[in-house]
Symmetry: C2
Subunit: 242 residues, 2 copies
């Protein structure tokens, strides 16, 4: 068989097969811990032990300690001087700090995205909006986890369009850091009666559709400010009580 024929044949095979991609245990542990943090499964100030997590995830300590180290460097977890690690506690300063950083960076990302999104991409996020409404209409009992996941997809679908390989990891890091805080706020939200979150997302999409970068930025900032402001008030009144 001639070389050209073989290569052609290989190409045909390659077109039908999808790369299998070896994922290491460490990567799976890392992803799982990320998911747990963003989802608020760990509460602020909770301490995590390597062996405890290893048991829970049914692996050895090795992948866990490496994943923990990575999460500590992106400030998603905190290394105490005792060498134990915990999820960072919530403070007023930290809330304001996170909100400012998120407004700045996610605002920039969406402003860039507004000028770069093509009609197909806009239609895609618009479709997510519709899917969202359906879910909301179907079940009056709120499914917070599902809602949070959908919210995350919505935002990152937009951010991905900004075309910056530098900004996006930073935004992921920020979500990781604010995950535990936000979750506390969300729970408080759903206790305190519902606010219409759909409105904010709708104005974001509208701004994107008419390529209005400034409006998109403002709508986004309003969206992410809401839970932070709520949490801020809650914390302040708690402090006053003491």
């Amino acid at each position: 068989m001639q070389k050209a024929v073989i290569e052609k044949n290989n190409e045909v095979i390659a077109a039908q097969l999808t790369p299998v991609g070896r994922e290491t245990v460490q990567d799976r542990v890392y992803s799982e811990l990320r998911r747990a943090l963003i989802g608020g499964l760990f509460e602020p100030s909770q301490v995590l032990t390597i062996r405890g997590l290893a048991d829970a995830l049914v692996t050895s300590t090795m992948p866990v300690r490496e994943a923990l180290g990575r999460l500590i460097t992106e400030k998603a977890l905190e290394a105490l001087p005792n060498r134990s690690v915990r999820v960072p506690p919530i403070t007023l300063e930290r809330i304001d700090d996170l909100l400012r950083a998120r407004s700045l960076i996610e605002g920039e990302a969406i402003a860039l995205a507004a000028t770069r999104m093509n009609p197909r991409q806009i239609a895609s996020v618009e479709a997510m909006l519709g899917e969202w409404d359906e879910m909301r209409a179907l079940k009056h009992k709120k499914d917070i986890d599902r809602e949070a996941t959908l919210n995350q997809s919505f935002h990152f679908e937009i951010y991905r369009c900004c075309g910056s390989a530098v900004l996006i990891p930073m935004i992921e890091s920020l979500w990781l850091q604010s995950g535990p805080c936000i979750r506390v706020a969300i729970y408080a939200f759903s206790d305190a009666g519902e606010v219409d979150t759909a409105h904010y997302h709708r104005s974001i999409v509208a701004a994107l559709a008419r390529q209005d970068a400034q409006a998109a930025r403002e709508a986004l900032v309003a969206d992410i400010s809401r839970p932070f402001a709520f949490l801020r008030d809650k914390l302040q009144s708690a402090n006053r009580k003491d």
Copy 2:
């Protein structure tokens, strides 16, 4: 001895002693690799091996692999699908991307710092400027490493005043990512004849001294844009030649 007396005594002792702080081998390896990356000791696209680094640093593989993992998550290094790790290559898109992110975030940091720095802090960075001039005056032959270190101290001394525990680690990550690129530019600079960098730093300090946040931001952006723009031109002309 009564309890209060003992505690008082302990306080007196504590005031005289500085905490020794157990630094792990992993931390030392991590710091050393950071220093090497920011300092440009590794060149873009160079691949690093765990055992190679462990030999060079005279430790076992364990601390090295953990340090590498951390550097990969902050995008200071890149994990190839072959599972080898390398320092990220320079591309035009990456240069623009890094410059935009740095302008955005470091600009925000210095704008915050401008409103918060007290006279003592301003005097401190002003003093660094003087020390800088001395060094420059003494030796005509440029000591690039010393210059880079001083530049880094100068910038972070200012950033620390912004009072944001979220922004500063992000800036460190950005310096880590742009370190190898910048170093290439700096070397090219010193080959191509000197530009007066002192001027930029002087206008930064001047803006800070009169608490002019906007001017400080603009002066900073001009300062960090310079090597990026230089590198950009260099790369473009290199591409044209091919």
